[in-house]
Amino acid sequence: MSRIGIIGIGHGKFGRRSDASVQELAFESFAEALSDAKIERKDIDATVIGAVPEYHKQRSLAGAIQEYLEMTPKPTWLTEVACASGSAAIRTAWMGIKSGLHKVVSVIGCQKMTELQTPEILALMGRVGEVQWESIFGTTFPGYYAMFANRHMHEFGTTKEMLAAVAVKNHFYGAMNKKAMFQKEVTLEKCLASDPVASPFGIFDCCANADGAAAVILAEEERARAIAGDRVVWLDGLGCATTTMSVLRRPSLTGISSATEASKQAYEMAGVGPADIKVADVHDCFTIAEIMAYEDLGFCKKGQGGHFIAEKQSYLGGRTPVNVDGGLKSKGHPIGTTGVSMTVEVVKQLRGDCGERQVKDADVALTHNVGGIGQYCFVHIYKKE
């Protein structure tokens, strides 16, 4: 089976980007990816945009971006699966190449979240759950994950200190990442004392809305080798699954079952297992989400996620380094961009370009990108040439 590889990457600065429109953010990362791949726009057959539309005043963003990049009349389209939109865009690019329709496809995750006024944000926040039976009680995004956390603590003895340890790790690595929104370390005490959001979470258990874009360029095997040589990174395993949006019908309240299912598919397709993963970027929208990801992806046994972080097994030098770019927690979470941002990070790791954050001898990497409160999950496995 012929492979599909990543030949170029670009990553803009995340944060409150009052200096740029969403098209300008997209351009920034796209131009960097083109330059990284050393190709020109004419070499690209199509552009897939990962973004969540309700944050942007510009409707139907894909067309607006394609115009700004001067990529018309080449095709473009948008993929949307909430916070997993970026990984869904990569999956559709992979499918487009695999089908033979295209040979080189660029994927841009882009999101501008800070243009909305606070009332608009609060109104959106009130409709993240299932709206007919749940949102009418004022459920919120942190509120759902907080319910998972309380159940996890009840069943497995996970503690607030273990939750906070995830934030401490991710800020520790985020402090070394120039593209992160928060480049500052935090202490366990500061996390534990942070303002309440939804019990057991304080503000330091939660990631922040952000602006930012990231881009990757995918190509079919022959073209990828010709363009990137030994810098190509292969996307060898793709998994994608769903679970219910409604917690009223959710099979598990202590894990994200779509992640378990998606990772099984990706491991099988790539011919590797959890122990082969040298570095992973996982969806730590809340501290408990990273702990559940360790378990759902098989990095540790079910219920042991809290101990995994307490023993620093997800630090550099640990069993499986996780989110050593700072994660959503420190980078910020421009929702449509996040999956592409994760991909840029693991490609850099596999190329050996991560400097002081570099995982030694990284040859297989994984991204885990969750949409909404778990209703979508995409797991991708990348290998070094």
Binding site: P119, A123, G126, G138, T139, T140, P142, M147, P200
Partner: protein, 154 residues
């Protein structure tokens, strides 16, 4: 009138619209498929098992076990005026789950996963429009029910 259901209602149009009328009368209703008999809570018009669109309402006890909970401080639009509120997820005795506020009969330190709770139908008193909802209370909590249609008047 499903638009009666919830402090804010996002889905006024649904085939299970009479759910809210029953709740206003003090009855918690699930659904039962008229073809295969499959029961669900929350109610749904279309059977998830046999795909039949033919259903009837089915009264349930509202007794259940607390699966998990949270206390929300950062509230979204429409809920900022009620301050901090507690949300609980209940595993219903008859099957299915229900999400609601944890009510005043349960003290601050009394919320425990695994505790038994009773769903109690409520009407917001201070709103000009009819607004119905429910809370999770101590087992044995009572509330007013309208006579069932066709029931003998005492």
């Amino acid at each position: 009138m499903f638009e009666w259901f919830g402090k804010i209602n996002f889905t006024p149009h649904t085939r299970v619209t009479e759910f809210a009328d029953h709740l206003k009368d003090g009855y918690l209703m699930g659904s039962k498929c008229r073809k295969c008999g499959f029961e669900t809570y929350p109610p749904r018009a279309d059977c998830p098992k046999c795909l039949s669109p033919d259903f009837e309402f089915n009264e349930i006890s509202g007794q259940g076990t607390l699966l998990t909970h949270t206390q929300i401080t950062a509230a979204p639009t429409g809920f900022q005026d009620i301050g901090t509120y507690r949300v609980g997820l209940l595993d219903l005795k008859e099957g299915g789950r229900l999400l609601a506020w944890i009510g005043e009969s349960i003290g601050e330190d009394e919320v425990k996963i695994g505790m038994q709770l009773q769903v109690v139908p409520r009407i917001f008193e201070d709103t000009p429009d009819i607004k119905v909802y429910y809370t999770l209370e101590k087992p044995g909590t009572t509330w007013n029910k309208a006579p069932k249609p066709g029931a003998a008047t005492p």
